[in-house]
Subunit: 230 residues, 2 copies
Amino acid sequence: MTPPTAKADQTRARILEAAMQLFREKGYEQTTMRAVADAAGVSTGNAYYYFKSKDEMIQAFYARTHTEHLAAVGAILEQGGTLEQRLLGVMRAKLDTIAPYHRFAGVLFRTAADPGSPLNPFSEESLPVRSESTDVFARVLKGSRTKLPEDLAAELPQLLWTYHMGVILFWIHDTSKGHARSYRLMEGTVGLVVKLIKLARNPLLAPVRKASLKLLREIRGDDDRPPAAA
Amino acid sequence: MTPPTAKADQTRARILEAAMQLFREKGYEQTTMRAVADAAGVSTGNAYYYFKSKDEMIQAFYARTHTEHLAAVGAILEQGGTLEQRLLGVMRAKLDTIAPYHRFAGVLFRTAADPGSPLNPFSEESLPVRSESTDVFARVLKGSRTKLPEDLAAELPQLLWTYHMGVILFWIHDTSKGHARSYRLMEGTVGLVVKLIKLARNPLLAPVRKASLKLLREIRGDDDRPPAAA
DNA sequence: GTCTATAACCGGATAGAC
DNA sequence: GTCTATCCGGTTATAGAC
């Protein structure tokens, strides 16, 4: 068993640290790999030993915010509360966590456009990578006392994750002071989402619900026939 | 009146044509500006005289599909029909129009991420550029016999445009044969959207509707104070 | 003033020696 | 794991031709 090589990890961390600082100071485009390597006290070639590309540094940062978010969210998820309170707490924590990085969020978005990226909201392949992230929303649901029809409960965590990506997409383009509009959007839509969820429990709407969920599974492609057959 | 064309226009067209063909054959990343210039029989420097960047060629192509879409949609919009039929026709025409370019659609998406781009669904600045595009949806609504509350009617064209961007976003990542999933998504969601619009006319739901529209105006930011120039 | 070309720049990325 | 040297391609500077 190789212990997670001590010195290597430090070097990697040093490079990432330098990159983050420079990105913040000068922005992503204005920061050259040469500058990052310099600041970290390594050669450019060496920097590429640790990060396959400049973009990958951003992804590394993203992973970091994800960890921070998980930490921030622990308390909220354990203390009970209504569905709305819980969802609101988690979403607010998300916006709070990513706030310091708004400046180069555009790159993150570009990354998300790559079909192979774990940030891509639609790709099937990256689903496993996303599971930790969707799991947060599963816990949001489970901890609330809101009872849900089974078919809906199965899909809702993913749906909420997609919703949360939509909010982030807005946030990326939000130039309002303190990202006030994003918070406003989030607060307003969380309310709508919760109302909608409660509405979906109404037995009268079961046919609509079932049809919608069927559509969802179809377009996701894990419905009945595996795409190979087609 | 300047007569529509000098030799310049032809050169520009030749470059764009060469670019399109190469992009299709080899993909966007694999096509160099030098190759495009070569194929068009001009120098690289000259190619940059006509297009500020490689990305701008993609945008030029996008403008072209937009024109094609407008043409394709004319008949549909003039022949009446229900709201659902009209929206379905317009959306189907859209997917049909962009189909040949799926291969490098990812770049389009990346372009859309740029806050200054007219494709960016959220930016205020680019709203005028989008107006021709949202106008199609205004005509979809106007031609149908569906009566709408005024406040909703004012916002709906833009909302439908945003919806249509969402479908395209899905399409970009859709790897199913013939983009079947995108068509399925579109057909299914058009139905939902129309149902929702009809639901919104219900007087009992007026408070929800008004609150939602208020939220929409708030986050768009044309509510009270205009943001300072960027 | 509109067009075209050549040469160079710059920075992300890679090869390969140590 | 680290470096140096180099490649490659988008982009720009600039000079000249129509």
